[in-house]
């Protein structure tokens, strides 16, 4: 399994044709306390850059974007009842959606872990 990162601070873990999408620890630290998560319907076809989910902190609403094209095959319903998990385990249990990857070629536009870390250092 390989994990990629977007400039918008999503992580995307690829296992075969399936990609699990969440937000990075840096992203959750910028958001602050998450109080609400809205997930898409299963079966929804997302284009790269579409809104895949919404996270609301005490302060503001933010969108989680689809880092690649794909169909939503699963969502993490546990986040709806326990939105604070996004702060506690952002790069583990608090994933948002699983996508069926439409075009693996799009993964080449994303960063690996070392590049993402270097990118965050510049912010």
């Amino acid at each position: 399994m390989t994990t990629y990162y977007s400039k918008d601070h999503e992580w995307i873990a690829v296992d075969g044709d399936t990609a699990t999408v969440g937000i990075t620890d840096y992203a959750q630290s910028q958001l602050g306390d998450v109080v609400y998560v809205e997930l898409p319907d299963t079966g929804k076809a997302l284009k790269k850059g579409d809104e895949a989910a919404v996270v609301e902190s005490v302060k503001a609403a933010s969108e989680v974007y689809a880092p690649i094209d794909g169909e939503v095959v699963a969502t993490n319903a546990a986040l709806v009842d326990s939105p604070a998990n996004v702060n506690e385990d952002p790069e583990g249990g608090a994933w948002f959606v699983k996508l069926k990857i439409a075009d693996k070629g799009q993964l080449a536009d994303l960063m690996d872990e070392a590049s993402y870390k270097a990118y965050v250092e510049t912010l």
Partner: protein
């Protein structure tokens, strides 16, 4: 991930308060606010900061706010000069007493909300201490100056910081250094020594909790803050929790819940219109305000509790469920003490009664909400024991 809350201003153009270095040392996340580089939160986060303020004591740097003296030959002259701009009774404001009021434009719209304090010392009669919003200094000061008679002047205070300490243990924590603070009644103020430093302390604030606001010498602000933070009851609190605290307390944020189009009657702050002023008028926009007071306003500020978990933010449309648009949300978020998403907004008067069911439109969906009495979280201001 993308956020609707963008901060694009160049940090180099921002002003800093005397506590800037301390905020950075404490690990605050700094954001631009009203032209200042201000702490939005410290490492523990908004939720913890909010809860700590309600449970113990929170310390807020509000030095960005504008402090000024209005100075005239005697109290009545200075008070009447201010009464020409505000709808509150300033002439009968007692020594050492404080009052919340608003500057009005000719249409009765609110130019800013502010605190006015009459000094306790007889020797300072003729002076009123003003605290205005940071974002409105450039509007307020010229407006005030243009309206003053020749024998009253506005003198800006640039060498003092302003620190708020709020929460059920705030006054005890301050009184450990400034014992006179414990003697203050709600909405009153006095000069006192804080570890030997002369400060102007008022028993007031903007969280709905007991507490004080301290005007202190800028070069002593850090020492005073460090002394207070050494007390484990006191934690530093950023603008994020300040916002959620005041929202729960039903208190308005200028530029959001009040602006140049809203009147004090629409804003549901008619307590600032004392009887003599209401009856006599003599303030800008008096005709509109007196009419709204008598007949009721066309729209009114209300508190809202959402039935679900999704917050509604400023700008969300307010509708009759399944029907017409009747208003707009002016502040909204999650209420950490309320435990649910809450909001404030303006609605047509017919829909302003507590208990009214409304819908707030968020991302194209209607969220169910109910009009509730404000404050949403009850105030816990200090009340002096009866003698």
């Amino acid at each position: 991930m993308g956020t609707t809350d963008s901060h694009a201003a160049d940090a180099a153009d921002l002003k800093r308060t005397p506590l800037y270095d301390l905020h950075v040392e404490l690990g605050a996340r700094m954001v631009p606010f009203a032209g200042y580089d201000m702490p939005v939160q410290y490492p523990t986060g908004i939720m913890t900061e909010h809860q700590h303020t309600r449970a113990a004591a929170g310390l807020f740097d509000v030095s960005h706010m504008g402090q000024a003296w209005l100075i005239g030959p005697d109290h009545e002259t200075t008070a009447r000069a201010l009464e020409a701009l505000v709808p509150s009774n300033m002439v009968e404001l007692g020594r050492g007493k404080q009052r919340y009021t608003v500057l009005l434009n000719a249409e009765g719209g609110i130019v800013d909300d502010l605190m006015v304090t009459r000094p306790v010392a007889e020797a300072q009669d003729g002076r009123l201490f003003l605290v205005v919003n940071a974002s409105r200094k450039d509007v307020d000061y010229p407006l005030i100056r243009a309206a003053l008679p020749a024998n009253v002047r506005l003198e800006l205070i640039e060498d003092r910081a302003l620190i708020a300490v709020q929460g059920p243990q705030a006054v005890a924590a301050v009184a450990a250094h400034a014992p006179k603070a414990a003697e203050l009644a709600f909405m009153s103020a006095d000069w006192m020594e804080f570890d030997g430093i002369t400060c102007h302390v008022s028993r007031s604030g903007y969280t709905g909790e007991d507490g004080v606001e301290m005007s202190v010498p800028a070069d002593k602000a850090e020492a005073i803050t460090r002394a207070l933070l050494a007390d484990e009851r006191v934690k530093p609190i950023g603008l994020g929790a300040r916002d959620s605290l005041r929202l729960e307390a039903g208190l308005c944020l200028y530029g959001h819940d009040l602006d140049e189009t809203t009147s004090p009657v629409e804003g549901d702050i008619t307590f600032i219109l004392q009887k003599r002023r209401r009856e006599e008028g003599g303030f800008p926009g008096a005709a509109r305000i007196q009419r709204e007071f008598a007949e009721g306003p066309a729209r009114k500020r209300v508190g809202l509790k959402l039935d679900g978990r999704a917050p509604a933010r400023e700008g969300a449309e307010i509708k009759v469920p399944g029907g017409d648009t009747v208003g707009i949300v002016t502040s909204g978020g999650f209420g950490p003490t309320a435990g649910v998403p809450i909001a404030m907004g303006y609605v047509a008067a017919a829909h302003a009664a507590p208990g009214t069911k409304l819908a707030l439109v968020v991302r194209g969906k209607d969220l169910e909400a109910t009009v509730v009495e404000m404050p949403i979280v009850p105030h816990r201001y200090y009340r002096a024991p009866k003698a």
